[in-house]
Symmetry: C2
Subunit: 260 residues, 2 copies
DNA sequence: ACGTATTTGTTCGTATGTATT
DNA sequence: CAATACATACGAACAAATACG
């Protein structure tokens, strides 16, 4: 465990104390300093020398962002699921897992190659060597998605020896390559798969899929370009809204036809 | 304008004061009591006889939910866009409008009919008469989506005389039929349009669309069943995330290829 | 152009209630 | 029962942005 490094707050700064505190707690969270238990209000008051109100303000925002969870009488806890990658693609994997289905991965290819399109998104030269990870994801043995990832070989070459049929890519990427994906974007489009992709997904020829393009960044540069195809006849994107309880909830993935 | 009806707070209730206050402000917002300007902190303190801290707590939550907006030195304001319908479909219309494109509507059909599938979603008998609104939506003259809505004729018959080529359906529904849609769900799927739909959308035969199914409820019962097809070759669903600044979990629609 | 009043933003302090250990 | 930790609620003061005479 890394030793606690606390950045002292600057009271003469125009940045509010709660914002400085929130930023430092975000940094310490990203450093993995709190495995599960988070400092109590009182501890924060003492280490940062602020009022309890200010400490709560910062922690409240981290709770609202979903990183922490407070439990009355017990303490504040890190939400481990939020250490997992963000975005609609990983939300799908998690919702499938939460449904009780057993997820397995078939590795179709794990090689070094070049790809001009992926290179463009990764902002490297078109002939720059890339690591390609081509996998099929299955839920209870039935194909759910095909998932192609390209990463610059200069940073991702250690992955060629990794076991990518289990676990989360980002964990391997952090452990073996020292790269932490911190942000990015995703674009979701409907598309018609090629006959080859249709076969891999074991779906009829006249059905459409979600194509999810995903770019992951490691602070200073893009490191992950991914194109995934998700069976649209089995999975759909569902949103509910209700002005009384709060509107526009986070979309979730569902299978089947019933919507609450 | 309705006279201000303030529900007194119950200090012996186990429900926190801020929750009671938030609920009452939500109700007054729904009643349209505040056209644009919202009470100041001081006014809330006086009318509800709570501390400023409690009043701010309630208002902060309404701000977080997106219903209000506070501006230092000016006051608190109702966000008018939040009086508009929620969901991915209306988010698309708004983002197209925000892009500067001129939106027009072509009315293809406005009739009374029956439809067993729609009736099932509206929870009425299969032969119950429905109002069908079948429209094509265009952005700068180019087809963007086709949009079919079914409503129970018993409540929506006044719409047969309405001008549905302009304005928002929900406004007509509220004005002519006295029905306020307050909640519901949406399901998004990729699909392949029929040749007929392809023609209406003026798109090539081998492209896929987003199918958005939408169920709108008026508190006690479903009143709107809608199936829309959005050109997937022109519009995509984009999400960005960034753990440092807070994860952006609300997807937006974009056209073109550039993603920030 | 300036000063004052208003309004929200931030920060402190204090006390009490409630759930958990 | 007691200690701990979060939840709620009150009060007070000053700062920063805005509006207005």
């Amino acid at each position: 465990m890394a030793k606690a490094r606390v950045v002292p707050l600057d009271r003469s700064s125009p940045v509010p104390l709660w914002a400085q505190l929130e930023a430092d707690l975000r940094r310490r969270l990203a450093d993995g300093e709190f495995s599960r238990q988070f400092p109590t209000d009182r501890e924060l008051v003492e280490t940062y020398e602020v009022s309890r109100h200010t400490a709560r303000d910062a922690v409240d925002r981290l709770c609202a962002a979903g990183l922490l969870e407070r439990r009355r009488g017990r303490g504040t806890f890190v939400r481990p699921e939020f250490e997992q990658p963000a975005g609609a693609l990983y939300a799908l994997f998690r919702s499938v897992e939460a449904s009780g289905a057993e997820q397995t991965i078939e590795l179709r290819a794990l090689t070094e190659c070049t790809n001009a399109d992926a290179a463009a998104h990764l902002e490297v030269a078109p002939d720059e060597p890339l690591v390609l990870i081509d996998r099929t994801r299955l839920a209870d043995g039935e194909p759910l998605a095909i998932d192609c990832v390209w990463l610059p070989a200069s940073v991702a070459r250690p992955l060629l020896d990794a076991d990518l049929a289990h676990g989360v890519l980002y964990h391997e990427l952090a452990q073996r390559c020292g790269v932490h994906v911190t942000g990015g974007w995703e674009r979701i489009r409907p598309s018609i798969p090629t006959p080859c992709d249709c076969e891999a997904l074991q779906m009829p020829a006249d059905t459409a899929v979600f194509t999810i393009e995903r770019l992951g960044r490691a602070d200073d540069r893009p490191v992950e370009w991914r194109v995934s195809m998700v069976r649209g006849d089995r999975y759909s994107f569902v949103t509910t809204w209700d002005p009384r309880t709060g509107v526009d909830r986070i979309p979730t993935w569902q299978t089947g036809t019933a919507v609450g």
